[in-house]
Amino acid sequence: MKSNDVTLWKGQNPAIIPPTETNVDNILSYSRQLHRRDISQLTSSFNSGNYEMTSSYIWQKSIALLKNQLGNLGILFIAEMLDRPDITEFSSIEQKLSDYDAITLSEELGFISGTGALRLRHSYEKLHHFGSLEEDEADEFQMTIDECIGIIRACVDNVVGQERIEAALDFQQFRGSLEEESFEEDSTEIQRLLQSPYFFKRTSIRVLISLIKSTSGAQLENVLVNANLIIPLLWKVLKKPERWQIGRAYADVFVEGKSKAASGLRKALLKVKGFDYVPEDLRSNSYIKVANEILVAHDSMQNYYNEPAPTKLLSEMGSIIPIPALPVCLTAVLSVRLGNSYGNSWAAQSYATSILKKISQDRWGYFLSDCLSSDERILYKLSYKLPIMMWCDLVKEFELMSIAKDNVKDKDIMRLLEESNSGKQENIKAIAMRLINKLGFKTS
């Protein structure tokens, strides 16, 4: 059995619209979570040829619904799942969670299926593109009827047409079990977790951390027993960003005076000799916050205008990014530098480049060897032509191939860099998709 065949949980929501259906009225008739008034306005707008307006309207409704349902899991849970220290209990999920984050998290927790997430991501790219066009371009390049139908179908099929949008039942049970019972190494759930793709392991670690931070009493005791079983079992395969997240969680509960939680995590870290991943200061949190501001700006409709300010801020924060913050900082800066399938923010490029120039060779080595293979955001970008071109330029400019030779053991990452150095776009895309598949995400 392949690793990707074993999953701890799976999005249950089936496709509800027949594949052959192309009539918008019929597609909209599957909507269970839209008011009649909404359906009537969508139909009328579509029939009037306002394709962008129609698709934007149903998109906003769908994303609002997804965010609302994610919010029901608790804002602090969401913060931990996204590793976002900038999200607090007082944050608005609507403001803090980008559409990209909402789709990715919904996929990770089984709110939507992998294929559904893929279709929603494509819809998001299209909307993003048309929403970012300058006025003269917008007149010239308008959304087509087929593109609009595709977006409506993705939204109805995966969100507003579903009777219920909630986390996969298996996930809810797994999360509940982590706080209600103590697993053994031979428990079915643990065995499945060990065989699952990386993304389930990462999610499980994040769920554990969020429960350690939020539970108390007997529940906390169960969670800590499970953490002391699961963390040592996964430690060898955990990539450094996840190891740092555990170390940062220890520092957080320690500073907040949660001695029982700190004591439990301390035992787990001692078992795996993981204290090297406990940050010696909390500077990294400031960097992580700004990096996430860049990513929120990058995911916004006005990304070309919104990216420069937070990117400038990061470039002015100091010449050395703390190691625990390096993965998300590089993800953010590379997102600005690579842009999306339609271009990038010119005004933010100089700041992004100045940050990248300050990254030392050993830190590039760390990113390439330990972070890139699980950085689905950057890997997804390498499925689009323009970001691939920007990536190839970057690989040459910063001589990443020669850095990788001394650091990278992952054959796929090595091949990705080799092909990038040679500028072979189709091969780059194929390798990036393979890496995403290995993580456990759908690519087709």
Binding site: F254, L270, E280
Partner: protein
Amino acid sequence: MGAEFVSLRKQLKGAISDFLDIEKMACPHTENGLVEVINALSLYREEGKALFPKIFIFDDLSTVLKILAVHDHVRVGEGPKGQSTCIDALKKCAPLAQGGWAIYILRKNASFEYGLFRGIGSVLTISIENALINNGMRDVPVIMAQQLSEKYVKVEGVSGNSILINFGATRSDVEPSTEGINRFINTIVLNVPAHIKEQTSTFYETLFSDVLRAGHGTLATVISHRKKLLPKRFHDSIVLNPPIDIPLNIQSLLSSNDIESNCRLEASASLIKGMMLSDGITIFNDAGAVVAYNTFIKHTSSGHFSQGVAGGARRRTFDFLISMIGKGLESAFMQSQDGAVLCKETSHEEQ
């Protein structure tokens, strides 16, 4: 006939030897050094001022510092293994071991290194002894010595093993107990929301420990948070309106994580400590707030305290407070000037 020579040293050395064995830190140099340190700690003063340094002895500085997460440390010196280096460590570091700094003695293969270290964070950050001793792990052996109050020195290890040394000639059976303090604090935090109960307890543990070391007696009691007015007998009080709501301040610090909230909490701690070191009774409620202080009650003619009770006015007042438990009070606490602690709560468990 010559005078009989009485020395604590032999008895202490034997106890320390057994203690180090149990802690898996047996070493003759440590044994001798620790005896000297304990002796020096019993009445430690610098220029007339009492100091209460905490001394930690361990073998792995790197792991210890990482356990403290965000930390700082200053290496002060190094010397041959033995008592002279331990005494040097105390002399050179004790005056600096304030404001969260503690002394460390690192046992290396051929020498003892010493210096100061501390955790960095807010008022709520877990203390060094909590992380290394109370919730310590046998894989990281650490022992701690500190003067609890005048003439009392305590040595603890990660195995839950401890020695209390009383350098006084009386009351050797009465421990200046953290257990009595903890029981009283449990009644203060009884109705604090679960998610901040632990931090509120820790806040008060630190506060009461400071009060204990101040060498001043204190009296305190807890009333239900549902009571809007103090019991009539407590009318001679300075009532705090609004009360000092520690859980609220803790919640604010956890939410905002800013300097202002931390300062506010530190300021509250300082204020409450001052109240507890003032004459009269400090009144808490069972939701973690301080509601009144400087409270005086008339009770000598009431006949509530039992016959034959020895002691002064503070003890008589404490006995009166005990008589009111279940009749408006939830618990009563007394710490005498010599550090002895008495606590009684509604469960009627008296130390």
